[in-house]
Each structure stands twice: as C-alpha cells, then as structure tokens.
C-alpha cells in the first residue's frame, strides 16, 4: 500500500519535470473594487496565447506565458472586464480590482462565475451557489437558509422538514463534509433541523461537490459542502441586518486598516422567548428557549506575499424549563487560522490551523438530586496546502493534513441523594493523517483531466480501553469477550486507505462537453443515529477495532450543454453509480445512547446508490430559475436484516422534482417561488398485534424493515420582495420580504406511526405526522447601509 502511494507521488513529480519549460509568469489577486473582497473563480485570459486560468478561493491566480506582448483580460460575471496589454519579459505581479457593472446591480444573477463554467470547467457533479441567489429563494419563515436551497439541487434530497442535514446521491447525512472556512461543522442546524447555522450575511460563496471530489478533500463519503465566509469590506463600513418573525440578524463589516485589513462580525438571535416573562404561567415565565450564532472573520494583508485570515463561528441552542430546572443545550464552535503565502509567482500556499467542537448538555437538578449528561467531539487540525502553477496546462496541488480528535460520546453524571455515579461511554481519541497530490492538466484544446490520489491514515489510539466482541447471529447484540487497556497515544488500531480520484472533460463544441469521473472516498467518523430525523443527541464515533472505515467508489458521467450565444440556458444530464462498504447499521432495538459497549449494537453492511440527474437553468434575464429532476435509488444490504436482501434506505426517494423561479417585475418588486415534489420515504408497518399485560405491541411477522412508504411530498412556496424607496443619501437600502411556505397547506407526511388510542390503548390507530401542517406566512424586513 505504502509502496504504491510513494510510486504514485514519484510518477506525479516526474510528470511535473517533463512539462517544465522556461517562461514568464503573471500572478496576483483579483478583487472587488468596491469592497475589496477576493473574487473566487474570476477568469484570467491571455488573448494572443488563447490561454486562461481561474482565480482560486483566495482570489489568487498564476498564468505562465511565453515572452512577448500579451493582452490580459480579467473578467467575472457581473463585473466590468479589465484589459491590459503588457510586454512580458520578466515575472509580473498584476493585482486586479474589478468594478461591478452598474446595470448588473439591479439584475438578478444566479452565479458569479463565468457564464460557461458548467461546460468548460473540468469539475462535474458540482453545484455552486452565491449568496445572492440563495437570498432570492422563498424561505421557511422568511429566514434565508443555504442548506434549504441546496436541497433544491439535483442529487440532493431530504427526509422532510425538521430533518437536519441533507442526503447527497443516496448517502446518509453524516457522509457530507460541511466546512465553514475549512473548519468542519458537525451539526449544521438550529432548532432540531429547521434552520441551518450559516448566517447568510456572512457567507460569500457555497460550493457542493457531489462527485469527482478533488484529492485535497477527504474524510467523508458522499459530498463536500464548502462554505466560504466574506472577508469583510476593506474600503468602507457596511451594516446589514434584518428583522424576521423568529429571529433577527445584524452584521457589521469594514476596514481595520484601509485596503490592508478588514473584519466582519455577524450575529443572529431568536426572540420567541422575549414573550415568556409576560406569561401567567410560572414555569413558562422562567423558561429559556433561544438560539444564537455569531460569525466573525478578520483578515490582514501583511504584504504582497503574505496574508492571514482568522474565522470563527459560535452558535448555541438552549432550552430550559421547570423546577428543578431541566435544561438542554447544544452548539458548535469552530475556528480557523489561515496563512496564505506566495512563494513565487508560481507557487501558492495556504496553511490552516483548525479547531472545531460540537457538544451538548442535558441536565436537571443539582448535585444532591439531579443529573448532567454531556457529549462532545473536538478536533484540532493542521493543513498545509500548495498549488504549483507549473504552466498554463498543468496546475498541481499537493498537501497534507493531520487531525487529532477527542470524542466524548456521552457521559451521564448523576446524583441521587448526594451519592454520585457516572455512566456512559469512555472518551475516545484518534489521529487522522492524509497526504495528497493532484494535477489538473489540459491535454489539448478539447480534453482536460484532473487526477490525483489521497492517502488516508487513521489511528484509533489510547488512552482508553478497547473492547472485543463475540461473533453471534446477525442482528443480535454482541457481547464482550475481552478488553485491553492502552496508554496515551498508543495505537489500538490503524487503517490505511488509498483514494484515487479522476475527472475527464471532453469539449464537443464551444457550448457542450462530456465529463466523466471516478473517485474513492473513505470515512472514519460515523454519526450514530437511529432516528428518522437526526437529533442533537446523536453522537459521533470514530472507526475503532470494531468499526471499520466506510469506503465508497463512485463513477459518474455527464453531458453539459448551454444554449444561445450568451449561455442563457444551461442544461446537464448526469448519471452516477456509487458502491459503499462498511455502512453502519443497528441491530433491532439497539441502545445507542450512553452505551459504553455501543459497538456490540452495530452491524455493517453494503450500500449502493444510483441515479440520473437532469438540470435546466435560466441564468440571465428578468426571469431566472431552474428545474431539477433526480431519479434515484439508495439501498442497503446487511447480513441478518430483511433476509439478507437489498432493501431501501430510510432516505430513498425515487422521484425528486424541484422548480425554482424568480422574476424581477421592476426596480422595486421581485417575486420568487419554489415547487418541490418527492416520492414518499420508506417506513416500516406492522402486520399484527401482540397483547401483553393489557398493552398492544405492534409486530411485523416477517421482521422486515422499510416494507412500506409514506405518501408523496409536495409543496409550493412563494415570496415577494419590495425594495423600499432609498433615503436621500442613497446609501440606506431596505426591503420587505413577504413569503408563504406551503401555500396550499398540504399536510405533508413526515412519518406514519402506530399506537393505541389516547383514551383506550387497546384500540389501535395509524397516525400520520406532519411537521408543517399548514400554510406559514411570514414577513421580514432587511436593511443595509
């Protein structure tokens, strides 16, 4: 395994040497002239040489050209192009500030990328959304939510309202790596999944990789959601804010040192609890129920070659009620420090130091009578990354990452009449390392390839006790047959995996291309959850001597075509097939919480997912929007479950249709609407009843999981935005957004369950549960100055 890895590296480096030629390089940063924000993905085009590159996520670009006269055109959708003719006889640093097109300020833009990116970029299975688009989609309770918008894209589904997270191409929610400025976010939702933790005022750019994931990313099977925060305006101060029905937001950004350093600080807080003190009920009066989040970022341009960024997120949901007080709170905090360094015009590096923490606490009473239950996951990472712009035809990326994790899957400390006891699981520690290298290579005018390899090394380490379990009949709890204590950092179990990645693009015409990709991904963190919707109580556990790393192999093929000269319409068809190994499943009646012998409750199986995704987007004009349709299957095979036959996953949905439309009526009024349709998700119905001690227990004679489906889901949302007259200064902009969620008030089923009648438990009923059973109107006021 190691041999293979190193020989691959050598091979890659040899390739680099062969391509090397002596030329000159133009490099620099591309920025928004107004705010000083880096422009991700701006296009830098050398007219005579017919060569182009894109700016990276820090706005950095590098283009190597032969000596001589060149016309450089820097462009980005929504900005005036910048053109410069220069005589290239040495390496040149060219920083470019692009001005926003004045007429574009009014117009709706769906992406900020160059307009033919979907056809021309080598990436397939990628969805990029900028925050302006996200803000135009009608939102639940009027609160802009990027995760909800992602769920409208092809290949992305959800189990329903109230289900946190999202499912990508038949993967479970823990198979998405959610990064906020490089820091992983373990629970991306507030309020049991109704809202995501990302404050739209602080987000600059969102990119979702469903497949063809480049080698620099790893750690999860199914997708990468890369959320990038704004750097903050380094020219002048700006305030954004909004008042909604459920919460309000405020963000301030501005320069610390003009043109050199800027900050953004953005906060949100819910306020339904402000009404509690007016309640006549004593318990409600003293109750707490709120959530908040705070997103901050600082950056400092030290000099031409060095720039640093510091980003942080702190969010928490809290509830408390009753006497003695019962409290429950959970939240994420993340922090990342990044240092961009330009070694020379061809070599760019970024080193990140990352911290992320997710924890929850439940408690009642005090240390005479009471309990306190805590669970958390913390990680510390270091991640050096390098991009070497060898020549216009080869862009090489390489780097490493090392992460130390501390898992506390759950510990309950309780006091009973002053006596203290502890129960739950022991902490677990792991060290995960990865090395990667990749190259994006233009073979000729028509064919480009991106290839790379990622080597993942995962170590389950002490201190702690490793347990060993017996083999028994599948789907029966396994018992321990032994245990062994390991001291601090002593390796209990290691896993090494090699993850090849490959993407190929073939241009058929200027406006159409075929792309194909293969990638292998591994995952060593597993979210242990047995509920339909994930709950804040779910715990993350690492791969151990009993839990093997999850592996996935995905192949995808796509056809991309744009219509009209200005690429007004974008279309794509993609098909994919994904096989997953070592999928975590649970025995019937598994006890997953506070269980130190949790591994005995787990089984592992295989997964497979396949589908077809259609996408049609109108990106320009007064009317914009998209249509996405996904035909998909997600199945599982676990020895001992359902006669060891393939059966559908809980989130399997055959048909998924999303329609998103946005219409600009005039300068003052815009409309938005979405329509969502999806096949009902699988569920398990009983066949018989067992009467035991006057209780009626449901029973399924074949013990079959997911033997039925809940009815279809469909929903229409609409919104209207009214831009109010600017005040005289013209700087104060404000608008009112009126929206309605679930316009025709459909009681969309979330689940169907079976139980006894409230008054007579022996009379059994089927109950359909809808999280949202009514139309939800809302109004929000937003301002900016």
């Amino acid at each position: 395994m190691n041999k293979l890895f190193w020989s691959t590296i050598c091979f890659l480096l040899m390739g680099v040497a062969l391509f090397a030629q002596q030329k000159y390089t133009i490099s620099g940063h591309v920025k928004d002239a107004l705010s000083g924000e880096d422009i991700i993905g701006a296009s830098i085009f050398a007219q005579e040489a017919k060569l182009s590159v894109g700016a990276n996520i820090y706005g950095f670009y590098s283009l190597t050209l032969p000596e001589g006269k060149h016309t450089i055109v820097v462009s980005n959708l929504g900005f005036n192009s910048y053109t410069k003719v220069l005589e290239l006889n040495k390496n040149i640093v060219l920083d470019v500030n692009l001005e926003i097109k004045s007429e574009q300020l009014k117009e709706v833009q769906i992406t900020s990328e160059k307009s033919d990116a979907n056809v021309k970029d080598i990436q397939m299975s990628v969805a990029k959304l900028d925050i302006k688009t996200i803000q135009k989609v009608p939102a639940f309770l009027g609160e802009v939510d990027l995760v909800k918008v992602i769920q409208l894209l092809p290949g992305v589904t959800t189990v329903g309202e109230g289900a946190s997270g999202f499912n990508v191409r038949g993967g479970s929610i823990d198979q998405n790596l959610v990064l906020l400025d490089d820091a992983p976010v373990y629970n991306s939702s507030h309020l049991f999944g109704f809202f995501s933790v990302f404050n739209p005022d602080a987000v600059k750019d969102v990119k979702l990789y469903k497949g063809g994931i480049p080698a620099q990313y790893g750690g999860r099977l199914s997708s990468l959601l890369d959320v990038r925060l704004k750097d903050g305006n380094n020219k002048s101060y700006q305030v954004d804010g909004g008042l909604g029905l459920l919460f309000s937001r405020l963000s301030i950004e501005g320069p610390l040192v003009k043109d050199k350093s800027s900050f953004i600080i953005a906060g949100r807080r819910s306020y339904f609890d402000v009404f509690f003190p007016f309640s006549k009920n004593k318990d409600i009066k003293d109750a707490k129920a709120y959530f908040y989040d705070l997103t901050v970022k600082l950056n400092y341009i030290l000099n031409d070659k060095n720039r640093i960024y510091l980003s942080g997120y702190f969010g928490r949901d809290a509830f408390a009620i009753g006497k003695p007080e019962f409290g429950f709170n959970w939240g994420n905090s993340t922090g990342s420090f990044r240092w961009n360094h330009v070694y020379n015009s061809k070599l760019f590096s970024n080193v990140s130091l990352i911290y992320s923490n997710y924890d929850y606490q439940i408690g009642v009473g005090n240390d005479y009578d009471g309990f306190n239950w805590k669970s958390r996951i913390i990680n510390y990472s270091i991640k050096p990354e390098f991009t070497y712009y060898l020549n216009p035809k080869n862009t090489i990326t390489f780097g490493a990452t090392s992460t130390y994790y501390n898992f506390d899957p759950g510990k309950l400390i309780f006091y009973s009449k002053g006596e203290k006891r502890e129960l739950g699981s022991d902490p677990k520690f792991t060290l995960e390392n990865a090395l990667y290298a990749g190259n994006e290579q233009i073979i000729n005018g028509r064919i480009s390839v991106q290839y790379g390899v990622r080597f993942s090394n995962f170590n389950f380490v002490g201190k702690g006790t490793a347990y060993y379990f017996n083999d028994t009949v599948p789907n029966v709890r396994r018992d321990t047959i032994g245990s062994k204590y390991y001291s601090n950092l002593e390796v209990i179990k290691s896993y090494n995996n090699l993850e090849p990645r490959l993407s190929v693009k073939f241009d058929i015409t200027d406006q159409s291309s075929i792309k194909a990709s293969y990638n292998r991904t591994t995952q060593n963190l597993h979210l242990i959850s047995n509920t339909a919707a994930s709950t804040p109580l779910d715990v993350w556990v690492p791969s151990t001597n009993n839990i093997k790393p999850q592996l996935a192999d995905q192949v995808a093929l796509g056809y991309f075509k744009n219509f009209r000269e200005d690429n007004m319409y974008e279309t794509s068809i993609e098909v994919y097939y994904k096989e997953m190994q070592n999928q975590v499943d649970y025995i019937d009646g598994a006890n997953l919480l506070l269980n130190n012998l949790l591994e005995g409750e787990l089984m592992n199986g295989k997964g497979r997912a396949y589908g077809l995704e259609l996408f049609l987007k109108k990106a320009k004009g007064d009317f914009t929007g998209w249509l996405s349709y996904t035909l998909a299957r997600s199945e599982r095979l676990v020895n001992g479950i359902n006669n060891s036959e393939w059966y559908p996953n809980r989130f399997d949905k055959l048909h998924n249709l999303n329609l998103v439309g946005m219409y600009t009526l005039n300068k003052r009024v815009e409309f938005g609407s979405t329509f969502v349709f999806g096949t009902g998700t699988p569920t398990t119905f009983p066949t018989n009843r067992i009467e035991f001690q006057a209780y009626v227990i449901p029973h399924n004679i074949n013990n079959y999981r997911n033997n039925a489906r809940i009815p279809v889901y469909h929903r229409l949302d609409i919104s209207a935005t009214f831009h109010l007259k600017d005040k005289k200064s013209g700087k104060y902009k404000h608008n009112i957004v009126v929206s309605a969620y679930n316009v025709y008030a459909r009681k969309n089923p979330f689940s169907i369950y079976f139980r006894g009648n409230e008054n007579n438990p022996t009379v059994t009923q089927a109950i359909q549960f809808s999280v949202v059973g009514n139309i939800i109107p809302s109004v929000a006021y937003n301002f900016k100055f």
Partner: protein, 318 residues
Amino acid sequence: MKKLNSYLPILLFILSIAFYSCEKVIDVELQEGESQLVVDAFITFYYDSVALKTGVENQVIKLRKTAAYFNNAPAPPALGATVTVTDILKRTFVFKDDNNDGDYTYSGPFLLSFTNPPMGFPGNAYQLDIKYNGEEFTSQAYMDSVPLIDSLKFLFQEQAIQGPDTLRAGYTIDQMLTRDVDGLLTPTKDIPGEGTCYWFKSYKNDTLYSKPSQINLAYDAAFGPGSDSVAFIPPIVFNLTPRRLKLNDIVRIECWSIGLPAYYFLTLAQIQMTNEGLFATPPTNVPTNITNKNKDSKVKAVGWFGAASVSRITQVVK
C-alpha cells in the same frame, strides 16, 4: 435513556407552537401475518409493606394469539394447551385453563415451610413448557430480589406547565422510603449488584396508570450500567405520579424486580408503543424468550415469560 426522552415532549410543545406540526388519524391498509402464540406471564412473589405480609398469589400464565394490527377485539385466547412450570427444586406446577379463556392458572396449594417454600421466592428459577397445536415451546426465567418500600413521602406542587398533558396543582410522590437496620426511613435504594432491573407500577384508587408512556422502568437506580445500589434517581421517582394526586387518594406503588432480559423487552415494547413525532426510531419487533423446542419448526411464538419479586406499598395521600 428512554426516560430522558420524557422531557422532550415539553420541548416539542414549545416547538409545536411555532411550527404547526400536526397529527391525524389515517386509514392504512396493512398486510396481516399468520396468527402466532403469545405468552404473557410473570411468576410473582409479593412483599406487602402495609399488611406486613409476604406471599404468593394466584399465578396466571396468559396464552393468547396475535391478531391483525387493527383488530380491536380482545386478543383471541389460545385454548387447549398443556402448561407446566418446573422450578429449581424440581417441583412441577400444572397450570389449568378452567374458565376456557386462555388464562392458565395455578391456584395452590401455597405451602409455606422451610422444606417446601412457595413457588415464588427470590433466587428461584423456572422453566415453562407449553404444548400447543402439536408444537412444544419452552422458556426460562429467574426471580431477582426486590427492595422493600416502607413509606411514601408526598409533596404538594403548584400547577406546572400547561401543555397537552396538564399537570394540575396537587401532590406527587417525592420519595420512596425504606427502613434501614437502625429503623430510620431512608430513600429506597437499588439492590446491590449490577443489572437489577425494575418495573414500577402506579395505581390511584386501585386503577393502574396503564398508558404505554407510563411504563416506568429502571436499570439499577437509573437507566443503565453505573448506577448500582444508590437511591432511585429523580426521573424514576417523578414518573411514579403521572398525574397529580388529591388529598385522601389511595396510592399503591408496586416495584417489580423483573431482571435484565425483561427490562430490555419492556423498554423496547414501550418504545414501539410510543414511537412518535420527530424523533421516532425505526419500528422493530420486540424480542421474545419463548422458543420452539423443535428448532426446525417454522412455527414461532412471541411474548415474554418472566419472574418478579414484587414489593408493594399502599398509602393514603395526607
């Protein structure tokens, strides 16, 4: 763990105001599986703290059949079975269905002597044998010890949160008390030894709180390993009074020491019967400890055969 979920409805109540979630009864067509034999039995032994007596009452083993899930008629009895229980003293007790209603009963004699103790006593173990419709089923159970409850302490509570399950102002059980070696009343504790499990049953004026959500189970003094031999923790005591009590209500608390396997069975049964809302888990069948002696037979039985020593306290709210 499941008990901690009992707080979640409070949170969900808050959420429901904001989110208009709703439930509705719907018609669903279910497939019906073939009928299976259901065993419903606990061999018991009572310690009654008020009457200051111990004893064995009639032992009943109920044999029923499964029915279609929506068939709301009483479960059909399994008639014509031969039912015996053999204990560690190699005594065999024959259970008879005299009323032809599926309740197979052993009603004595209950001799109490050192050499011939009653059928139920802590430390005894039982083997159940059933011959029914040409199949032979068997099961085993062990009877664990139980802590005595000598007194209940009541506490007056103001009206609590208004919600779907209103808790009006009234009395709750604040503590269960047991007389220690010095004769002092101290909070009732779990029997030493890990994995002693209990099922607390609460009665008001001789009526059992019989909703599935009111099944009150304990693993040691809490809900899992690590809580051995301390006083029962507040959520368990709290759940003894699902509804507030009035002065002069007659309260009866029974503590059934059911053993670990039955604890798992009942925990899962409770989850299956109260598996609702946003945090529902995938439905699964409850386990059974009834096996067909002929391993190759396709005919299976369901249900549970258990043994429990029971301590009982009856007290008037004062």
